[in-house]
């Protein structure tokens, strides 16, 4: 086995997720950057960080484009080059991958990767409109299909093909809210009951309000280095040992199967192969639960179970915090929140905390290998990353 450390994480930052009244995205990003700098006193950010790769999805939210240099500026990193990456909800998962590639290229030794989104100042209807832009315009948006609608179409197909139930989807929400209640940075830190999910109002049948992730503000970042210099900055680096990414049709309707995300399967497979790791080796996973059905499908696409058996993992508490393979210990997009551009590196932030043993009340003891899985839109892009305690 020739496992290779691609890059190392030496620090990380996460703003509070939630409704951050009166703050705009650059200010929220500065909060995440500040945490990453403070946790890494051996690093001189202005001198040492050579480039930024930032996920940010929408200009519409704040009527602000060209956000790469703005975020570099607010992180006090001018005149470093800043590359903004837009891949819908997978923007910062892709930014993370670009940061890895930048270091592997030999061009840089130290980069910051991260993401941000400011969403809560807009009405839910505006947010629905802006997020819908990540789906196909000519056939999906033009026909009135929303994002919850797309995942609802996957859910109906999954229910029909495999017998997955609304209760199983609801249990994903209950689990992730349980974890979110233990995360001081989560948007909603409150347990919910199965009854509450099941009786919440329908958004796009079979998905109800509590099957949907949250509209949140937030930012996240990681500082990546060439593995050879990681120990200069920290005694406990976390190495990234696998990365995968794939693309699929923008239209959900264009795919042969509605019950699986091909790009997700391929991204996972690439990351597993690169890392010389199988699903059985994983201690913790953060998956893209933008809707509860997405977490069930993620179990299947990442090979935790056979296709169609995702609901069983939830029924048997396999993915609970005290289960065999805890999933979304952070609370996931469902409870921690989903500021879309920030999500990919926020998932990596959680894995990092878990692997260095600083996840406090939600710590999974002895976690050594973790995976993060970030999906864009209805699955036209997906990334997977595998992390190992150094």
């Amino acid at each position: 086995m020739t496992q290779k450390n691609l890059v190392s994480i030496v620090s990380s930052g996460l703003s509070k997720f939630g409704r951050l009244e009166g703050k705009c995205s650059r200010e929220i990003f500065a909060e995440a950057a500040k945490e990453a700098f403070e946790k890494c006193p051996n690093l001189d950010p202005v001198k040492d960080i050579e480039a930024l790769f930032i996920g940010h999805m929408g200009e519409s939210f704040e009527h602000q484009g060209h956000t790469g240099p703005i975020l570099a500026d607010w992180a006090s990193l001018l005149p470093r080059p800043a590359i903004r990456i837009e891949s819908a909800c997978a923007s910062s998962g892709v930014a993370l991958r670009m940061g890895i590639i930048a270091i592997l290229s030999g061009m840089y030794n130290i980069v910051m990767v991260g993401g941000v989104e400011k969403m809560t100042h807009r009405t839910t209807m505006d947010v629905t409109e802006f997020l819908t832009m990540a789906s196909d315009f000519p056939f999906e948006q033009w026909n009135g299909i929303t994002f919850p609608g797309l995942y609802a179409l996957m859910a109906t197909a999954h229910m029909h093909k495999y017998g997955t139930t609304e209760e199983q989807m609801a249990r994903v929400a209950v689990k992730n809210h349980h974890n979110g209640a233990l995360n001081p940075k989560a948007h909603i830190q409150k347990e919910i009951t199965l009854e509450k999910v099941m009786s919440s109002r329908v958004i796009a049948w079979p998905l109800k309000l509590y099957d949907c992730s949250l509209i949140s503000d937030g930012a996240s970042c990681l500082i990546l280095t060439n593995p050879n210099i990681a120990k200069t900055f920290t005694d406990i680096p976390v190495h990234i040992i696998g990365t995968g990414q794939a693309s699929d049709t923008i239209g959900l309707y264009e795919r042969d199967e509605l019950t699986t995300l091909k790009a997700g399967r391929l991204a996972g497979r690439e990351a597993y192969k690169m890392a010389h790791v199988t699903p059985k080796d994983l201690d913790i996973i953060e998956v893209h639960d933008c809707f509860t059905i997405a977490e069930i499908i993620a179990y299947e696409d990442l090979g935790l179970c056979k296709p169609g058996k995702g609901g069983n993992l939830i029924d048997q508490n396999v993915t609970s915090l005290d289960g065999e393979i805890p999933v979304n210990t952070s609370g996931g997009l469902k409870a921690k929140g989903h500021p879309v551009g920030a999500t990919g590196t926020a998932q990596a932030y959680e894995i990092y905390l878990q692997l260095i043993g600083q996840a406090e009340k939600r710590q999974v003891s002895g976690a050594e290998i973790g995976l993060s899985y970030n999906v864009g839109g209805s699955g036209a892009s997906a990334t997977a990353h595998i992390f190992k305690r150094g």
Binding site: T124, M125, T128, E129, T132, P138, F139, E140, W142, N143, G144, I145, T146, P148, G149, A152, L153, M154, A155, T156, A157, H160, R201, V202, I203, A204, W205, P206, L207, G251, L252, Y253, E254, R255, L258
Partner: protein
């Protein structure tokens, strides 16, 4: 009239005004495309013919949208389905004139046309699905 139309999405929508559901077929490998595209994804050919579809198919999934964007909120609740047309191509769209309680995966649906031109960009007419009473 439009058989020499460019192989574009715009052309697909213009055909709807003539109550025609049109796909394209690659001249080289015979793969069907909906929407039309300028290059065949299978063999990279750029030669196509238009093919008129009969617009019948089977519902493979559906949802009932209760909360939508500003443009569509007044229509809620409305049903969206993905139909596998008999030609093998999938098409998403609104299902009209049906009680959500009646709907089920596998039912036979038919494409119909609303040829009125909306005011908003891109001013395309719309197709929609309805129950195919003859095949059901």
């Amino acid at each position: 009239m439009l058989e020499d139309s460019p192989f574009t999405i715009e052309s697909f929508y213009k055909f709807l005004c003539e109550r025609k559901l049109m796909a394209t077929k690659c001249c080289k490998c015979e793969t069907l495309f909906l929407p039309p595209r300028p290059m065949c994804t299978k063999c990279l050919s750029t030669n196509f013919n238009w093919v008129k579809l009969e617009g019948k198919g089977e519902l493979i999934s559906y949802t009932v949208i209760h909360f939508s964007t500003e443009q569509f909120q007044s229509k809620t609740p409305y049903i969206i389905g993905i139909v596998k047309l008999n030609a093998g191509l999938n098409l998403p769209g609104i299902i009209r004139d049906m009680n959500p309680k009646q709907i089920r995966v596998g039912m036979n649906l038919l494409v119909d046309f609303d040829t009125s031109i909306p005011l908003q960009w891109p001013q395309w007419p719309r197709y929609f699905f309805k129950l195919d009473t003859l095949s059901s």
